[in-house]
């Protein structure tokens, strides 16, 4: 059953005729995702790869295909508008891959989304995958394997690292959610662990965090009180200097807040096994589950 996406996900791709949008739409289709619609303004009526109808608006795509999820690949200056368009059309799950959306735009989007029933994943994220069923995003599908470990992460390639460790040890994943590296995101670490805690197919959880903000601390506090499943954590950025933005817009220690040390302490306090190095993430969880 997994979390948020599966066999019954019907995907729309906003920006499907762009270079990245087209490339990754194909990647998702090859993986087996049911891509039912594409949206590019002023390109309505075309067919993408002779298979997927392209619409001018998400509203039309939703009305004519019944898409229940969308993957956004539009440039940062138009991405906030694309998210709002999808929410206005009533699309249940919005996955925004776009990196570089201004924070001011995201504050307004977050405020608006609160008044709709849509869920946003991202922005600036690799997407979400339920192995063997549905891939929405840019992650390489072949490194995943169907199974029972839920993975939530603020990073892209670091998630691949952890997933690959699991897969090469014979452990599959229920769902992997890349929540994104921006300071303001739709689905938080806490939201994701709540889904995994409630999912009967998920038997263990990997939580990958990084410096900046307090998302890991909030998730740890909730897990301590509400979840008996084994959890392993890793926090990137123990050696990052304060006050510098480490690639991700959200990865910054400001005013002494959001350090790796504080996050690791919060995880440990909640009884979460913390991996000492990024190469031991899977083993740390497997020991906790043994």
């Amino acid at each position: 059953m997994a979390v948020l996406v599966g066999k019954d996900t019907r995907l729309c791709v906003q920006g499907i005729t762009g270079k990245s949008g087209a490339f990754h739409a194909r990647g998702c289709m090859e993986y087996g995702t049911d891509v039912v619609a594409g949206v590019t303004p002023a390109r309505g009526g075309e067919m993408f790869d002779d298979k997927v109808p392209v619409f001018d608006t998400v509203d039309e795509a939703r009305a004519q295909t019944g898409c229940n999820a969308t993957m956004i690949f539009v440039p940062p200056e138009f991405a906030a508008d694309a998210i709002l368009e999808a929410a206005d059309a009533g699309v249940e799950l919005i996955v925004c891959i776009t990196e570089g959306i201004p924070v001011m735009d995201m504050m307004r989007v977050k405020d608006m989304l609160g008044r709709t029933s849509s869920r946003l994943i991202g922005p600036n994220c690799p997407g979400i995958i339920t192995p063997g069923q549905c891939k929405i995003g840019i992650m390489p599908g072949y490194i995943h394997k169907p199974g029972n470990i839920g993975v939530v992460s603020r990073s892209g390639t670091l998630t691949y690292e952890a997933v690959w460790q699991l897969t090469t040890r014979g452990q599959g994943q229920s769902t992997c959610i890349g929540i994104g590296g921006d300071p303001i995101i739709g689905t938080t670490t806490l939201d994701a662990v709540k889904f995994f805690a409630a999912d009967p197919d998920t038997r263990g959880i990997i939580l990958i965090g990084e410096i900046g903000g307090s998302a890991e601390e909030e998730a740890a506090a909730w897990l301590k009180e509400n979840c008996d499943k084994p959890v392993a954590g890793f926090i990137a950025g123990a050696t990052a200097p304060p006050g510098r933005r480490m690639g991700h817009a959200g990865a910054i220690i400001s005013g002494g807040k959001g350090t790796a040390a504080a996050k690791i302490a919060a995880l440990r306090d909640a009884g979460i096994a913390v991996a000492e190095t990024p190469s031991s993430i899977a083993d740390t969880l497997l020991s906790a589950m043994a």
């Binding site: 201004p102 001011m104 405020d111 690799p126 990073s155 050696t239 480490m246 190095t277 190469s279």
Partner: protein, 395 residues
């Protein structure tokens, strides 16, 4: 990116945020003219560099203090002459110091009271918040730790902006009297307009002052901008002073690479910010010191990889290099080719460990193996970190 104090003053002026009168001078003659135009006998001359601690700093020519009080225009000229073109060393510049190219000449203000006032993005709520305190001129973190009750927090709805009633509430909580309410509220509203119009991630006024004459002024402003929004603020981008930045970071930015210089001797090139941080961490875990953070991004080209490699090699501190790539969108054969091109063009004489995993990993490993380059191929991330730490000189 950071801006100079005089540029921050320009932004405050543009949005009508009251602050001391003055101007920026590039020559002693300009400083004298600005001082004369001000027509007052309480002046301050401030060296413009991107570092704190200027007042307590010293110039390499022996002149003490990058912030000086003056009484006359000719004094202002003489003071500017002692600062301009000279190197100022403060506790934040390191021993090399920074060359002063401009001075700010403005009215010296006698403060009756000092406050702290900042507007920033609150990540937890996804909305702006105002943080203020009656304890101005101090380190706000210290105040918060010592006496959290002295910190005022006022959340702002991002859709509506700061409302007039909120500015009145803030003014009263800070203790402004009836005659000071209006200028205080006006300043808060103007500062919020500045914060939101310029896509700031933070504007910090420390101190905000009530002068002996009853004026409310922003005495010092520190701006942080949202890098993601700079595309719609070409005027802010113009304010960048490359002379104040790490030349390696300036070069990396040209090639759209995310680079941050550190103090160790192991250069790293990684794809993805999280993995790049984790790679620095594992080097440290095994006893090494990373020389940098370098994220070549999810879809870097062969040319970007080559440029990234050149930036690493241009740093004399770098005595060993670790390349760690988990190819998703990025294909390992492209990375391998980029590394190959770079190594060929620079005559590599230091140890290089390469760890490739992911899309097209077999082709990538084959390209490196067939190249006969003197590099070590690592089997996984842990192996890569152990090997590079073993190969890097200990210093």
């Amino acid at each position: 990116m950071n801006i100079h104090e005089y540029q921050a003053k320009e932004l405050l002026d543009r949005f009508g945020v009251a602050n001391p009168r003055g101007g920026v001078a590039r020559t002693p003659a300009e400083a004298e003219r600005i001082a004369r135009d001000l027509g007052i006998n309480a002046l301050v001359v401030k060296a413009q560099i991107h570092a704190g601690g200027r007042g307590k700093g010293a110039f390499t020519n022996g002149f003490k203090g990058g912030v000086q009080l003056c009484k006359t225009a000719s004094q202002a000229r003489d003071t500017a002459a002692k600062m301009l073109g000279q190197t100022l060393v403060t506790h934040q510049t390191g021993p090399a110091g920074r060359v002063v190219r401009r001075v700010l000449v403005c009215e010296a203000v006698e403060a009756e009271k000092e406050f702290y006032f900042a507007i920033l993005v609150d990540r937890a709520t996804g909305a702006p918040v105002i943080v203020a305190s009656r304890e101005g001129g101090m380190d706000i973190e210290e105040v918060a730790a010592r006496d959290p009750g002295k910190i005022i927090r006022e959340p702002v709805d991002p859709a509506f902006g700061l409302q007039p009633f909120q500015t009145r509430k803030l003014a009263r909580k800070l203790g402004f009297g009836p005659s000071q309410m209006r200028p205080a509220c006006k300043l808060f509203a103007a500062l919020y307009r500045c914060f939101s119009s310029l896509d700031c991630s933070m504007v910090e006024i420390n101190p905000l002052v009530l002068t002996r004459g009853g004026k409310v002024l922003a005495l010092d402003a520190k701006f942080s901008f949202d890098d993601n929004a700079l595309f719609r603020h070409p005027d802010i981008v113009e304010m960048r002073d490359a002379a104040e930045e790490d030349p390696r970071e300036v070069e990396a930015a040209k090639h759209r690479l995310s680079y941050i210089g550190l103090d160790g001797n192991i250069g790293c090139m990684v794809n993805g910010a999280g993995l790049a941080m984790a790679t620095m961490d594992i080097i440290k875990h095994h006893g090494g010191e990373p020389a940098n953070f370098l994220d070549v991004g999810g879809g870097a080209s062969e040319e970007q990889v080559t440029e990234a490699f050149k930036i690493l090699l241009s740093d004399p501190k770098v005595k060993a290099i670790l390349v760690n790539i988990f190819g998703g969108i990025m294909k390992c054969d492209i990375i391998a080719q980029g590394v190959l091109n770079a190594v060929k063009s620079v005559n590599l004489s230091i140890p290089l460990v390469v760890r490739l995993e992911g899309t097209n990993v077999e082709q990538g490993r084959k390209i490196l193996a067939d190249s006969a380059l003197p590099l070590v191929s690592a089997s996984d991330l842990d192996d890569a970190a152990r090997q590079i730490v073993a190969l890097a000189p200990k210093d």
